[in-house]
């Protein structure tokens, strides 16, 4: 139990990686603040996490013995994020770990000049600015307490480019930059900031993840073909399991990583080592 007594806040926790991370943290003894937008967002061509999915994640965590606070939060809204953090402090008195996981993979699938102004803004707003909004709200409290770990879920798209995914790649590179800069800002206060960069993660039915299928759809290739391409591209010849990413998050959240800050932990089966 590496997170006993810690309060972990996870955004985008309704399903997918968010659910896997939440459950894993619960198994490690953490109490949790779980949030998700719980609505579809105009411009995103696929359904986002629902309230029922978020409640199900909460139930799985309570099953592990955690105290859980559930919040409907849109990371595009500063006000919404402020409310979430305020309720979390109200409930638990502190936040020890933040996992900025909420994210979208599309609208994508077109070259740079084919992206509209609105699409570009939406992508940056959710995938980059969303993480900054949450950091802004929690950083002060963490600094005061001289402890805290912020984990941004970036992607291998934060390290290399992908064709026809300029918005996503730019946002994820942005997250990597934000992580490094924030790590320097807060190192004196013993608040750590790191990123995990997952490779291509399998959509596991029990976690109801949808990203791989949606990326495939944006690229207009059948899902199994897309999976195959990535299995071949990742030197370990397998897709990443949500649990693999969750384990990396647990490490960065735990005191085992007390000297680790400003780092990019890749969980990509060797993809970015080439």
């Amino acid at each position: 139990m590496r997170l006993t007594g810690k309060v972990v806040l996870v955004t985008g926790a309704a399903r997918g990686l968010g659910r896997a991370i939440a459950v894993r943290c619960a198994q490690e003894g953490a109490d949790l603040v779980l949030s998700d937008v719980c609505a579809d967002v105009g411009g995103v061509p696929y359904p986002l996490g629902s309230r029922s999915q978020l409640d199900h994640t909460a139930k799985l965590c309570r099953h592990e013995g955690s105290a859980v606070l559930v919040e409907e939060t849109d990371v595009r809204s500063g006000e919404s994020v402020r409310r979430m953090v305020a309720s979390a402090i109200d409930r638990f008195g502190q936040i020890d770990v933040v996992v900025n996981n909420a994210g979208i993979a599309a609208p994508s699938g077109r070259p740079v000049h084919g992206i509209t102004e609105d699409e570009w803004s939406l992508m940056i707003d959710v995938d980059l600015t969303g993480a900054w909004r949450v950091m802004r709200e929690v950083a002060e409290g963490m600094c005061e307490r001289r402890r805290g770990s912020i984990i941004n879920v970036a992607s291998t798209a934060g390290l290399v480019g992908y064709r026809h995914f300029a918005g996503y790649v730019a946002a994820k590179h942005g997250i990597v930059g934000l992580t490094k800069a924030a790590a320097l800002d807060y190192a004196p206060m013993k608040v750590r900031v790191n990123a995990v960069c997952p490779g291509s993660v399998r959509d596991v039915p029990e976690f109801e993840g949808a990203m791989l299928a949606e990326i495939a759809r944006a690229l207009e290739v059948p899902v199994h073909e897309h999976e195959k391409t990535f299995v071949e591209a990742q030197p370990m010849n397998a897709l990443i399991e949500p649990d693999d990413v969750a384990a990396a998050v647990v490490y960065l959240a735990s005191d085992d990583a007390k000297q680790v800050t400003g780092s990019m932990l890749t969980v990509d089966g060797g993809f970015s080592a080439r």
Binding site: Q53, H56, E208
Partner: protein, 814 residues
């Protein structure tokens, strides 16, 4: 040096060479957490080959860990169906036994126990020497083991020798359920290893107990018939009998439906009771109007206990009439005007109706006294398909309906302010729940006209505009609703009934209507037990797991699962679902013999038990899993049909000498693709379409076979039963072969959509229904048309012009 179990765990003597034994010292006491972890690590390390490790602890204790390759087993079948496992990881339990006996005794005991657990399949027990089966008719002493190649789900590892320390047969038990019999330093042991993913711990526990009891009988009652060997002792039988009755019956709040109604009407006289389009009635008006009609019925000669038919569409008049019949002391017999005249005539005749109320009938407006009824008086008779070839009337007394409401009112917070739909045919007893569930709890009943019930968009609009809160649906109807946008609804309770629910379809519903705002309840029920028997609140977790549970019995109802000889079976084991308690009907109208067959005295409590003919099993927590029909009564899109009834109608045709019917799913995972195929042997050459047309005049729509194929003879199995496997797939309805494009772009586009959805080639004048179309397919075609940017066509339009040509011209017209 511990004794090794030669030839038991390990396949060849080479494997038991003591040189292969690793002895490891563990610097901790055997009871410490460190020792536990050490054992666990030892077991969790994959066994590439057989491996034995002796752990020696600080306190002098030892553990022998034997890790075996999985392949050591003879061919292993998938986990047992009665295992109910849903956990994971290996689990084991250990019991002390009186004596080890010999291997044969345990093999026989295992075979007998397995046969009781799964009478449908021949039991097989695996051992390291191969698998064994046996003929289990006759007395115990005559059972002879026969070697077999069949895969085994259960295996026996027998060892007479003493084994020291903890005996761990293997990392992954070689069989899904592995029974080991051996001796350790504390005496003879029976050990069960199983993966919790395949066998639940409770099931393993009872299996061990049953096996021990059977083993004792195998040794001591050698002259007993195998069929008489007992699985459970008396105490356990009583405990299992209680398991199906999780809650005591509530105290009845009224004796008759109309008395309960009047109480509601007095407390909320001005609330609206029924809405039918623009027509609506308050509780007071409904009470007064039904009083007037009741008096005229009496004046018309209706007497206490008479049966009165109601042949009206869903409407305010239907409700007024039904209530009036009850107030007149009589029994209402619903007759759906949409059913063929022949079927309605049959009902009228069989029920011995005094009178049939139709829209045309004019009743004398006279004063007369109301009738007399009590809880035992029959409130309604509903006709259900009968295995005798003709429908039979199920007689349901007032108090059953009162009990149904008493069992559900508080749990589901049914109360004034709720808005219910009346969606289902009055001749289907789900409507009893819709009508009286609403009117006896002060809600407002919204009539769903037939046309609206067939069109998901229109139905959705009605749910929205009427702010419906309580929605009762068959899963098939609900699937149609899910196919249209359903976000903005006020529904707070969905009740499923009428057919098995595939919980997975609910994920989409939950995404729009979280469980905290809308409760979803799956109810299993039968007309003979007053609509419902069990209730299961379905959650996202159930939907993700595709759960089959229909929940525990309603308070007042109780369940037993019995084997073919009427003995109670243990939890996990499949048998016939039998229902007792407050919902059991009074029997079949004027069918004493059939009533006596299906309604039996309850062996454990006062009262009567209904044998449902449905297959099910109780879970260790008292919830029921519903596993389908035992006989060939089946459901198609929520309608209960008896294949024998269809067959007998086909056989009545003078041109037919033999007939059979089967239900097929073109896509096994898709309930919408279910259809009935008929096969006939003709006496003289005839057009099968005419035979189908004749059947359609007699049978209700949902029972008319989609295809009729003429054969020179029906293929039979060796047992003389019709061999369904060998019935040919029906040829698609003949069509004008002209696959060339018609030159009409719209029609070609529609043809492509139709043939994609229906999975058959489509010509411009092919009949949608003859191609295997049904309402679910119609909805899918609508969705595909929308996706291609075509204007949608109302379902009614498709029903009116069921060809590509017809739809194309409707599209152009719109």
């Amino acid at each position: 040096m511990p004794h090794l179990h030669d030839g038991l765990l390990l396949r060849s003597p080479a494997d038991v060479d003591p040189a292969g034994l690793w002895v490891e010292d563990v610097p901790a006491a055997s009871t410490s957490a460190a020792a536990e972890r050490r054992r666990a690590t030892e077991l969790s390390r994959p066994a590439l080959d057989s491996r034995r490790v002796l752990l020696r602890y600080d306190d002098g204790e030892t553990d022998l860990v034997v890790v075996t390759r999985r392949e050591i087993s003879v061919s292993t079948a998938a986990g047992p169906v009665w295992g109910l496992g849903d956990g994971s990881g290996p689990t084991s339990r250990l019991d002390a036994i009186d004596e080890t006996g010999d291997e044969t005794g345990w093999l026989v005991a295992l075979l007998v126990t397995l046969q009781r657990y799964d009478p449908e399949s021949a039991p097989v027990v695996g051992t390291p020497r191969g698998a064994f089966s046996a003929d289990l008719t006759g007395p115990v002493r005559a059972v002879r083991l026969v070697p077999t190649d069949q895969p085994a789900a259960v295996g026996l590892l027998f060892c007479e020798n003493r084994v020291e320390g903890e005996y761990l047969p293997c990392l992954a038990p070689p069989f899904p359920l592995t029974v080991s019999v051996y001796h350790d330093d504390r005496g003879p042991r029976l050990r069960l290893d199983h993966s919790a993913a395949l066998v639940a711990p409770e099931i393993a526990e009872q299996f061990a107990r049953h096996l021990r009891l059977v083993h004792r009988q195998v040794l001591r009652r050698r002259d007993a018939e195998v069929a008489d060997v007992l699985l459970m002792d008396d105490n356990e039988v009583l405990r299992v009998a209680e398991l199906g009755r999780p809650a005591p019956p509530p105290i009845p709040t009224a004796s008759t439906i109309h008395a309960a109604f009047q109480r509601v009407a007095l407390s909320t006289p001005d609330s609206i009771a029924v809405t039918d389009g623009t027509d609506q009635l308050s509780y007071r008006a409904l009470d007064e109007r039904s009083d007037v009609v009741a008096r005229s019925l009496r004046a018309h000669g209706v007497r206490d206990g008479d049966r009165v038919g109601v042949c009206l569409d869903r409407s305010t008049s239907f409700v007024v009439t039904a209530l009036a019949i009850l107030k007149a002391g009589a029994t209402y017999v619903p007759m759906d005007p949409a059913h063929p005249a022949d079927r309605r005539n049959y009902t009228a005749e069989d029920a011995g109706l005094t009178l049939v109320v139709t829209p045309e009938i004019v009743l004398p407006q006279e004063e007369s006294v109301l009738g007399d009824a009590d809880g035992d008086t029959a409130a309604y008779i509903i006709y259900t398909s009968g295995s005798t070839g003709r429908p039979k009337g199920v007689v349901v007394p007032h108090r059953n309906v009162i009990a149904l409401l008493d069992a559900t009112r508080d749990e589901y917070e049914l109360r004034p302010g709720d808005v219910w739909t009346w969606f289902h045919s009055s001749a289907f007893d789900f409507s009893v729940w819709e009508i009286w569930g609403c009117l006896l709890t002060g809600g407002r009943l919204v009539v769903v006209p037939h046309a609206v019930s067939r069109e998901p968009d229109a139905f959705r609009d009605l749910l929205k505009s009427e702010r419906v809160t309580v929605l009762s649906q068959t899963p098939s109807a609900f699937a149609q609703l899910l196919s249209v946008d359903h976000a903005d609804l006020a529904v707070r309770l969905v009740v499923f009934g009428g057919e098995p629910l595939d919980a997975r379809i609910l994920l989409r519903w939950f995404d729009r209507h979280p469980e905290t705002r809308c409760r979803v309840v799956n109810m299993f029920g039968i007309t003979e037990t007053t609509v419902h028997v069990t209730a299961q609140t379905v959650t996202r977790a159930d939907a993700l797991a595709g759960s089959r549970s229909v929940g525990p019995a309603l308070p007042g109802w109780h369940l037993y699962v019995l084997d073919a000889s009427g003995r109670l079976v243990p939890p996990g084991v499949a048998g016939e679902i039998c229902v007792g308690g407050a919902g059991v009907a009074a029997g079949y109208f004027r069918r004493e013999e059939l009533t006596a067959q299906r309604f039996l005295p309850d062996p454990f409590r006062p009262g009567v038990l209904y044998r449902s003919g449905d297959l099910g099993r109780l879970r260790p927590d008292g919830r029921l899993d519903h596993l389908g029909r035992i006989d060939n009564q089946v459901k198609i899109r929520g309608f209960r049909i008896e294949l024998d009834e269809i067959r007998s109608v086909l056989l009545e045709d003078p041109r037919v000498s033999a007939a059979t019917v089967v239900v097929r799913r073109d896509d096994p995972g898709d309930a919408a693709s279910a259809r009935i195929d008929g096969y006939v042997v003709l006496i003289e050459p005839a057009d099968t379409r005419e035979i189908r047309e004749r059947a359609a005049r007699i049978l209700p729509d949902h029972m008319v076979p989609s295809t009729i194929t003429a054969l020179s003879e029906l293929p039979l199995t060796v047992n003389g039963k019709i061999d369904q496997e060998r019935l040919p797939h029906p040829a698609p309805a003949p069509s004008v072969v002209d696959s060339t494009p018609t030159g009409d772009e719209l029609a070609d586009q529609l043809r492509t959509i139709w043939s994609t959805v229906l999975g058959v080639p489509v010509e411009i004048d092919d009949d949608f229904f003859e191609l295997g179309g049904n309402s679910l397919y119609a909805v899918r075609i609508g969705a595909a048309m929308r996706a291609e940017g075509l204007p949608t066509v109302r379902l009614r339009e498709l029903y009116r012009h069921p060809t590509v040509r017809g739809v194309a011209s409707a599209v152009r017209g719109s």
